[in-house]
Amino acid sequence: MKFLISLHINPAVLDALTDEEKAAIGDGHGKFMEALKKSGELITTQALADPSQAAVVTVRNGQPVVTDGPFLESKEYLGGFYLIDCEDKARAIELATQIPDTAIVGLGVEVRQVMFADGPLEA
């Protein structure tokens, strides 16, 4: 079963962390990725650029309108994700608990099952 583990981050929360704490998060993700690769459960993982760099695209009367900034005005935004293939939802949740963000108040880790997939997987 495929799941998307999305990481919702809050820059204010991250800024308030000490350098050691920030380094620990980096290490934690590194170890997590390594373990997922070894167990054959990782499909892909990506981290996204800052939401200030995002563009919201709409088409009105056939005309594209592009506005800068994120779609949702919020303190938290999507920072990245892990796309995994594992046994069941319980395993996906167990894996999510190994993500360092789960131990930090103000950061969100969400698990959702994938319903449709297409395209080359060797991204």
Partner: protein
């Protein structure tokens, strides 16, 4: 020989060659890689140069050579790193069909179901890692890591290359059958995505079940599982519309069911039911055979379906079985009786919010004339499923009630 025929031959020979190699050299992991390489070499060479007179020996020879090369380079590396290491090379053994032993090994209880299926498809089914990855829609690297981890685990568990005895054998055989069942289901109903059936996996599961059945013709559950697969696969063509939409059992065009598969499956069910023991696969196959026997949905022998579910519920209690029994009960005793039965499942946390419970309730409410309740439950069921085909079907049922 055509390429397809060569492919079939290679798939058939894979477990035999692997078995021969493991008997000769021990170390399942190394042998498994060597056999894959030999099979790949054959895929390239045989169509061009012709199939050797004794293809099995050809594969054993090529795989052994690969394995010995591998052992030599490992050995050289160890020599550099530390002191000595002597390879124990077991004596040659006579021809034996090791398919069962391999299946028991690949379905080792220390492995997750995902690893068991992957390893079974590769070592016994003779599929390449790339093919397995494609079937499960994951990158090849992901599948390769999963297979390699599985082999390490088997090595760590220190299992011997022999059939387990007594009660353990029974227990392990159940795991093997479950893995074959999972492969079949993965092929028949993809657990997610638009593709409702990935035919190759279903056919592969049937092929493997036939192999096990040939080895254990007296085992009622093996026979039952094979029958269940054949009877289910017989409905494949009728199960979806040309557009890929799901067609429920009672609306399927039964003239499109595969008669040959039904006849074979029904015959197997009869044989297995005549045996001494009765197991879950036999009962599920008997239920499938009862449906197959009805020329129209109206002619279904629901009392018999219900009786079979009742026995199944007794020997293998499971809320999903109770849910299916409720459908049969509704047909024999009326929808309110079926609804009363499923209300007992509400407190079962395995079923809470499950789309099957919601959709069966919707179906039964529809039959009682509670349109609003049925609409609401179809909608909730549609949201709860992770299958696009099922969601589309449930939404269309809800849509019908709205007008």
């Amino acid at each position: 020989m055509t390429e397809t025929a060569i492919e079939d031959l290679l798939r058939e020979l894979t477990p035999q060659v692997l078995g021969a190699l493991v008997r000769r050299h021990g170390q399942f992991e190394g042998c498994e890689d060597a056999v894959q390489e030999a099979v790949l070499a054959a895929t390239v060479q045989w169509p061009a140069e012709g199939v050797p007179t004794n293809p099995r020996n050809w594969l054993v020879t090529v795989a052994s050579r690969r394995l010995i090369d591998q052992m030599r380079s490992d050995h050289a590396r160890r020599e550099r790193e530390s002191a000595t290491a002597t390879e124990v090379v077991p004596q040659d053994v006579p021809d034996t069909d090791d398919t069962l032993v391999l299946l028991f090994l690949c379905c080792h209880p220390t492995l997750t179901a995902a690893s068991q299926t992957a390893l079974t498809l590769r070592a016994v089914g003779g599929l390449t890692t790339a093919e397995i990855a494609r079937a499960f829609l994951v990158p090849e690297a992901t599948m390769a890591a999963r297979i390699s981890r599985a082999k390490q685990r088997i090595k760590a568990a220190g299992s011997s290359f022999s059939l387990p005895a007594g009660a353990e054998r029974e227990e392990r055989l159940r795991v093997v059958l479950h893995v074959l069942y999972l492969i079949f289901n993965e092929g028949y109903t993809a657990s997610s995505g638009t593709e409702l059936h990935r035919a190759d996996l279903a056919h592969e599961a049937i092929r493997l079940a036939r192999m096990v059945h040939a080895q254990l013709p007296e085992d009622g559950e093996v026979t039952g599982l094979l029958a269940l697969m054949l009877l289910t696969d017989a409905r494949r063509e009728a199960r979806t519309t040309a557009a890929g939409d799901l067609v429920p059992l009672d609306e399927q065009d039964r003239t499109r069911w595969d008669r040959a598969l039904i006849d074979e499956g029904t015959e197997l069910v009869k044989t297995s039911l005549a045996g001494p023991a009765l197991g879950p696969y036999q009962l599920q196959a008997a239920i499938a055979a009862t449906h197959a026997d009805a020329v129209t949905a109206e002619q279904t022998d629901w009392p018999q379906v219900h009786a079979l579910y009742l026995i199944l519920e007794r020997i293998a209690p499971n809320p999903m079985v109770t849910l299916n029994r409720a459908i049969a009960l509704a047909e024999t005793a009326g929808p309110p009786t079926g609804l009363a039965l499923i209300s007992m499942l509400d407190s079962d946390e395995r079923m809470a919010g499950h789309h099957r419970l919601l959709s069966v309730r919707a179906h039964l409410l529809e039959k009682t004339g509670d349109t609003a309740g049925a609409y609401e439950h179809y909608r909730r069921a549609a949201r709860a499923t992770a299958s696009i085909a099922e969601r589309r079907y449930l939404e269309s049922r809800a849509g019908r009630l709205r007008t």
